[in-house]
């Protein structure tokens, strides 16, 4: 298998971009990546484009998005396809690009993920995301992703003694990082007093899906992110001299039951564990080798549960790591250095690409002041689709 390097990265700000068109924001992130890679003028060396998006046809009334993007940024005649895998679409598109290069089919690939969700009401947006649940046994009832996260959190609290204050501490840590990230949707820090300890906390931080409160869930965001990949052994690497390449050293993915109720133990995130095991095995690493991680905290409970499932902490012990500051920027294992989905935002198709964008930024040493991890070697991104029914893990390393 050929080695695959990330040679260019691009991002839009995440937030409310509803005044723009979906393909425009994707084009903007793609243009940023072409500039970062130093190939804006030589862009035709890109042979294949993978686009990650979920709602184009549903909420933006547009299909054929990959073809549209290629034409908008003058990349014809590059091959172009759409990858849809719910909230894990971004990493799945990167995985498709990785496989296309590793197999020897092509040398240079661009992966762009994007989503425009704030063009519709919150009511419609919630319905759109809930469409990935089982149509008959879940969706018809009004069950949503927050509902499943709420039921998961209640079980986790009962089994491991997690408190609402522990969850609030995760949100505070994520917002502290996100406030220093210029791409964040919610770029303001929050305090434990404001969202939990203070007398107005119930007003500032109401329940949305008990026991999950507003600050336990990510915002609904628009945004796009792009990666440019090249085979390490390709002569085309000569085009990419502007930045130090970062290697994709491990990728793995796994699925679990569509219906959450059909899992033997609803607290086991089997697809997370299996995808991480595969990625670690490909990279020849163990969880202890990972310097920092971007974990899919659409709900802050997932940051804790995923960090345990991939092997960073024992089951039920991630809350101790939060209390001890282990996962802060200056801790032993910084988690969600970008602010995570919680603070940076979660435009579905963009999220997985954005997580890997953050791995590259950290490994290059380009993160903004106050959120750069010290001398990182290996970063892990876990992109969580459905309520854990389709998960992709990526490991990036310094060359």
């Amino acid at each position: 298998m050929r080695k695959v390097a990330i040679v260019g990265i691009g991002h839009t700000v995440f937030g409310n971009l509803s005044e723009f068109e979906l393909v425009d924001i994707m084009s903007f992130a793609s243009g940023n990546a072409l500039e970062d890679a130093g190939i804006l003028k030589d862009r035709k060396i890109i042979e294949q484009v993978f686009v990650a998006n979920v709602g184009g046809g549903i909420i933006n009334h547009q299909t054929g998005i990959a073809s549209s993007l290629v034409s908008r940024i003058d990349l014809e005649p590059a091959m172009a396809e759409l990858v849809e895998n719910g909230p894990a679409s971004g990493s799945s598109a990167v995985k498709a690009g990785f496989a296309a290069i590793a197999s020897g089919m092509v040398d240079v690939v661009m992966v762009t993920g994007g989503e425009l969700m704030r063009t519709v009401t919150g009511w419609k947006g919630t319905d759109f995301v809930a469409m990935l649940t089982h149509p008959e046994a879940e969706y018809n009832y009004g069950l949503t992703l927050p509902a499943f996260a709420g039921m998961f959190t209640r079980l986790y609290m009962k089994k491991y003694g997690l408190t609402e204050r522990d969850l609030a501490m995760v949100a505070v840590k994520d917002h502290e990082n996100g406030a220093k990230n210029p791409y964040s949707h919610v770029e303001i820090p929050c305090t434990l007093d404001a969202i939990h300890d203070g007398e107005n906390a119930n007003v500032v931080n109401p329940y949305i899906a008990e026991p999950i409160r507003l600050y336990g869930a990510c915002p609904v965001s628009d945004g796009a992110a792009t990666l440019i990949l090249c085979a390490s052994d390709s002569p085309k690497m000569k085009f990419f001299t502007k930045k130090e390449p970062v290697l994709i050293t491990g990728m793995g993915a796994a699925t679990d039951t569509h219906c959450v109720h059909n899992r033997k133990d609803p607290l086991e995130l089997t697809a997370v564990r299996l995808s991480a095991e595969k990625a670690l095995e490909m990279a020849g690493l163990s969880p202890e080798d990972i310097s920092f991680a971007e974990l899919h905290d659409a709900f802050v409970i997932l940051e804790l549960a995923i960090s345990e499932e991939v092997g960073f902490f024992e089951k039920g012990k991630a809350k101790e790591a939060i209390k001890e500051g282990v996962t802060r920027i200056d801790g032993r294992l910084p988690i969600n250095t970008s602010g995570g989905l919680k603070s940076k935002g979660h435009p579905l198709g963009a999220t997985g690409v954005s997580q890997i964008f953050e791995l590259v930024k950290q490994l290059r040493g380009e993160a903004e002041e106050g959120r750069q991890v010290k001398d990182p070697e290996h970063g892990m991104a876990v992109n969580f689709g459905g309520f854990g029914n389709n998960v992709v893990t990526t490991i990036c390393s310094k060359e």
Binding site: A137, G142, L143, A147, G150, M151, R154, Y207
Partner: protein, 131 residues
């Protein structure tokens, strides 16, 4: 000959499905049996469409939530949802009608209207206290 039976009102039900080869029960219905790999044909033309077994009755609450941010089509302040386990071991998600639920409490799984859309009532599980 007119078949008047089609006009008879039937109590709405939610069904589990039984594999005709090994008897394994499923909810919702799969297309291949996890245990014996028997295939199911919903039309019943090529393979069996599998026996429908009414699902409901006594069950235990495994977890629950009260959701305030509801999707389009649910015009209420909040709804409660739960996952239960029935006596036959099958589990299901559904609407919870108890306002102060506790994990482990005994419930009764009935079938009622869970969503109203134009021209159609959608039936599903309503979990309530036993009568």
């Amino acid at each position: 000959m007119v078949d008047f039976s089609v006009y008879e009102l039937k109590e709405p039900e939610v069904y589990a499905y039984k594999c005709p080869d090994c008897g394994a029960l499923y909810y919702p219905v799969p297309m291949i049996c996890k245990k014996c790999s028997a295939r199911r044909d919903p039309s019943g033309v090529i393979f069996s469409s599998w026996e429908q077994v009414p699902l409901g009755g006594k069950c235990k609450l495994l977890t629950w939530t009260r959701v305030y941010a509801l999707p389009e089509g649910f015009d209420v302040k909040y709804l409660l949802f739960g996952i239960v386990e029935f006596e036959n071991g099958l589990r299901a998600s559904g609407r919870l009608l108890v306002d102060d639920p506790r994990i482990g409490m005994e419930l009764d799984g009935k079938v009622g209207i869970v969503k109203e859309v134009v021209g159609e009532d959608i039936y599903g599980f309503m979990f309530d206290l036993p009568d």
